[in-house]
Structure formats: C-alpha cells, structure tokens
C-alpha cells in the first residue's frame, strides 16, 4: 500500500486530554486507512517554528486508531461534508514539536505526510503455531497497540493487553483507546495495577502455558523493548517491536533514523520499520 505523494492539510476535529497525555483527531480526506504500526509526519499549519525557529522539522507519530469518516454519518467523528479517514493520535509534550501539537484545537490545520512505514504482522505470519497475541505497551508507546488490538479483534485473533506506565502523570490513553477490552496494568510507582514493570507481567504470562501459542507485539521506551526482546528470545516466542528513532523526513530521504542491524550496519527505521521482527 502506498501513501499519497506529498503532504496535505487535514483539519483537527477533536483534541482533548487523555490522562496525562492528549488525544487529537484529524480528518484525512485523501489518505488510505493506515495499518497498525504505521506512522505519519505531522506539522501544524500555523505557529510552527515559533519557539526561536523551532520546531522546524515535522514530527513522527504512530497512528493510535482510525475509522472511516463519512459525510452521511456526522456523529462518526466527522465534521461538515468531509469524507475519508479519521486519524487518532496520542501525544505527550516532550519538546517544541510535541508541545505545539498538544496545543492543537478543533478547526486548526495539520500538514500530514503518510501513512508511512510498515505494519505489524498477524501471529500466523510470524509462526504457524501462534494462535493469539500478547500486546505489551509502555508509556506513550501504548498508542499503536490500540489500533492493533482492534484489528485483531475484527479478525477474531485473541489478544491480551499488558500496559505499563511510569506514574500517573506519564500515563494516558486507557479510557479512550482501551476501554472495550481487558487490560492488565503495571506502574512503577504502584498507583495502579502491578507495582513494577509491564515486562514482569509478560514474563509471568509467558512462563505460564502461553509461550507456545502466542506472538508478542511491543511498543514503548528502549529499555522496555530490550527487556521484551530478551524475554522472547529466551522463551522462543515470535516477537515484533515498534521502534522509535529521531526522524527528519519519514520516507527514506535523510538517512537520519538509523537503527543498528543485529548483523552489523544500519537500517532506516522509516522505510525498513518501524515494526521490526526480533524473535
């Protein structure tokens, strides 16, 4: 599946707090529906470059969820006569670009390039014996697992969801993106769920009887991904990680998003990922 060439202006139809994060939605009239794991390069139409010339480059955000938006059904998240796809993004303000995106209000325009990158694979593509999925998310990394869980549900692929957060301030997305499913939670400060790491929950699950029949899909901070990777390699469980790297372009032009390959050299996360099979 290819993306429309170039960037296009999409209106914001919703923007609200989601726990300690924010959730905003755009209407993309042109673009195809994205697949879980894919991302977009975003920049606001107005007041970009306002903090002393920054942000300058667009920002890469994974798609958290999407839905067809039709002019016939105005309560499906669409406004006016727009058709196309509603794109939902979960965001945490950690710098000038994400801060500006957090300020978006309904009606503002956002430059959109995408959908970019590759998608998560169904469990049976990773291993013939993998009947179900375990989704492991940490912090803002829970976002792509929301659309993945929904797509698996639509295909009757059973999925268990494990989500971990540092503390209450650095958590969100639960009510908006995971309200209709059972979720096991972990928090480092113990404010909710298991006190500790989400990988503790994964280890328990894999050491049960699940190792033989599940594939693991993870997205979160690098130490979490390393722990998931190590666990899955040890337990011989197929595993895909949605990784992150600083990006300038998102479509292979700048060679900035290099991630080391296991056998030496680098891959470009935007065109060779962001979903990488590691086990």
């Amino acid at each position: 599946m290819t993306a429309p060439f170039g960037r296009r202006l999409c209106p914001v139809v919703e923007s609200r707090a989601s726990g300690g994060y924010r959730l905003f939605s755009l209407i993309d009239e042109e673009g195809p529906e994205p697949r879980p794991g894919q991302f977009y390069m975003l920049a606001t139409e107005s007041h970009w470059e306002q903090q002393g010339g920054r942000p300058y480059l667009p920002r890469a955000l994974s798609i958290a969820d999407c839905a067809p938006s039709s002019p016939l059904f105005p309560d499906s998240g669409n406004k006016g006569e727009l058709g196309g796809v509603r794109l939902d993004f979960l965001i945490e303000g950690i710098g000038p670009g994400t801060d500006r995106l957090c300020e978006l209000r309904e009606g503002e325009g956002v430059w959109v390039n995408g959908p970019l990158g590759n998608a998560f694979s169904p469990p049976r593509d990773l291993s013939p014996g993998a009947a179900g999925a375990i989704l492991v998310g940490g912090g803002i990394g829970v976002a792509p697992l929301a659309i993945l869980r929904r797509r698996f549900a639509e295909r009757n692929i059973p999925a268990r969801v494990l989500l971990g957060f540092r503390d209450r301030a650095h958590s969100g997305g639960l009510d908006d993106l995971f309200s209709c499913c059972e979720v096991r939670l972990a928090s480092e400060d113990g404010h909710v769920g298991h006190r500790g790491y989400v990988t503790d929950l994964l280890a328990t699950m894999l050491e049960g009887d699940d190792a033989g029949s599940a594939a693991v899909y993870a997205c979160g901070p690098p130490p979490m991904l390393d722990a998931v990777h190590a666990l899955c390699q040890r337990m011989e469980v197929p595993c895909e990680l949605a990784m992150e790297a600083p990006m300038a372009c998102g479509y292979g032009a700048c060679y900035g998003c290099a991630v080391p390959r296991p056998d030496g050299g680098y891959l470009r996360l935007c065109v060779d990922g962001p979903v990488i099979r590691v086990a």
Partner: protein, 285 residues
C-alpha cells in the same frame, strides 16, 4: 530545479509513494546521494539534530559502494523521468578516478558531481578547502570522462571563490554550493553534543544568508554555471539565489518537510517571475 545530493532517495520514495512519485517527480534532474568506492554503513546514531530554522546532520555517507550502486541502484534510477547526476567522493585521487571512470562510462548518467568536502588521505587536507588540491584533483579526473563535471563546494573555507576558480581552471563544467556548514549543538539533557559524531553539517533556512554571500563571491569570480542551494524553502528564496548569481537552484532540507518541495518551489519561482514580468530562468541540464 534539482535536489541537493543526499536529501532525497528516489528509490525509497518510489516504494513509499508508488508511481505517483514518477508522475509528479519534483526535480528536473536527480542528484544521487554520494557514493564512495567501498560500501559505507554510515555514522552511529544519533545522526540528526534539529536547530533553529534548520538541522545538523552527521549521516556519514552510508552507501552501497561503487559496485553495489552500479548493479542495484543505477538501473532503478535510470527509470526516473529526468536526467541523472551521480555524486561521488573518494579519499584520494586514485579512488576518485575509479569512481569517475566507473560512473562515467554509463550512458544512464548525464553528469557527475564531485563531493570534495572530504579529506585526501595522502595529504590530510580536505580537497575542497584548498584551491591547489581542487585543481590537482580536477586535472586528474578531467581526462577520464566527457561527461559534465560539477564541483560541489564546501562552505567551510575563508575563500570559496578561490576554490571555484581552481575548479574551473581544472576543467569543471559547473560548481554547486553551498554544502552544509560545520556545526554542533549540545543536548541540554546530557550536556553532550546531540549528534553522536560530536559535530555535523548545518542546513535549512538558517544557512541561507551564508549561501547567498558565498554565491555572490563565486559568481563574481567564475563564469561557469552555478547551482545554488542552502535553505531554499519557497519561490522567493529561489529568486534570491538567482539574483545572487545562481543559474540553477536546488532544494534540500525543505524536501524533508514537504516531499514535493522541489516542484512547489519551481512553480512558485516561475509564477513569481511571470508576475514581475521577468523572463523565466532557463533550467536546462
């Protein structure tokens, strides 16, 4: 309107955007990322760092090497609807010669851009910083091909005009400038440079006034066609470069923000010129 070398991967873009890329190809000619004799993996991350109105890059020239380029990339690039310019870099005259010979004998290639922002391992000097080194290099390479040779000047010199004169004397058909400016930035979270290599090259609108100054100096010193680049983001910027002496202009970093930037800037340049009653610049390769 062409692309600045290293700011657009036509093969990757075609995978991402499909044939729409070819139908709306944003450049009148395509300049490849610099190739080196041997494959290079590139620098370790982090390779990019945003700065006010720009960015620092320390990518490290990852590429498949001459053989890999000729076997795998050249056939794909030959499918583009525009002429192909191949950028090459060698760390010695012998390595440069191997590249120019290998690339020069391919009919798919319209011109060769010499990336001289690299050290000569024998002398230890960066070729493009020294008029004498530049002249010597051109004298070695000129007899090896009949294809147009474009010398990509480095701005990290006190006197770019002298280097441009040397390039012309050595037989260069054109010069292009500016390449990126040596730059660094400290990550406030770590106290260390943001890019792993410690420093890199600055590009984007922040560098435009430096590019204009160097372009004026070079245009006053040589009579060859000049490809002007450095922070061009719209037609007005392109007009500024033409006024300062550029024959052709190139878009680089802006393509990261807007993949169609090359085409958009060209259209803005043409329509703006028409409004002002000026003749359209001749964009011939």
């Amino acid at each position: 309107m062409i692309n600045a070398s290293g700011t657009f991967d036509a093969i990757a873009a075609r995978r991402v955007y499909g044939d729409e890329l070819l139908e709306a190809f944003p450049f009148s000619a395509f300049v490849s990322k610099t190739i080196t004799p041997e494959p290079r993996a590139g620098n370790e991350p982090q390779r990019i760092w945003e700065t006010p109105a720009g960015m620092i890059n320390s990518i490290g020239l990852p590429n498949k090497g001459l053989e890999g380029f000729l076997a795998e990339d050249l056939p794909r690039l030959a499918e583009l609807p525009v002429p192909l310019i191949v950028s090459v870099m060698g760390t010695s005259a012998e390595k440069f010669a191997r590249l120019v010979t290998g690339v020069g004998e391919r009919e798919e290639v319209a011109a060769i851009e010499l990336n001289v922002s690299c050290p000569n391992v024998h002398s230890g000097l960066i070729v493009g910083e020294q008029p004498a080194e530049t002249l010597a290099l051109l004298e070695t390479l000129r007899p090896l091909t009949g294809k147009p040779l474009i010398v990509k000047l480095t701005p990290n010199v006190a006197d770019p005009a002298a280097v441009a004169v040397a390039a012309r004397e050595g037989g260069a058909d054109a010069v292009s400038l500016i390449n990126t400016l040596k730059a660094s930035a400290i990550d406030p979270a770590t106290g260390e440079p943001g890019v792993a290599a410690g420093h890199g090259g600055l590009s984007g609108p922040a560098v435009r006034p430096v590019a204009i100054a160097q372009l004026r100096a070079v245009a006053a010193a040589v009579e060859v066609p000049i490809v002007g680049m450095g922070g061009i983001s719209n037609g007005a910027d392109a007009r500024e470069f033409i006024a300062a002496g550029a024959t052709l202009v190139a878009v680089g970093t802006e393509s990261f923000r807007d993949p169609r930037a090359g085409r958009r800037v060209a259209e803005e340049l043409s329509s703006g010129a028409a409004e002002r009653g000026h003749a359209r610049p001749q964009l011939e390769v």
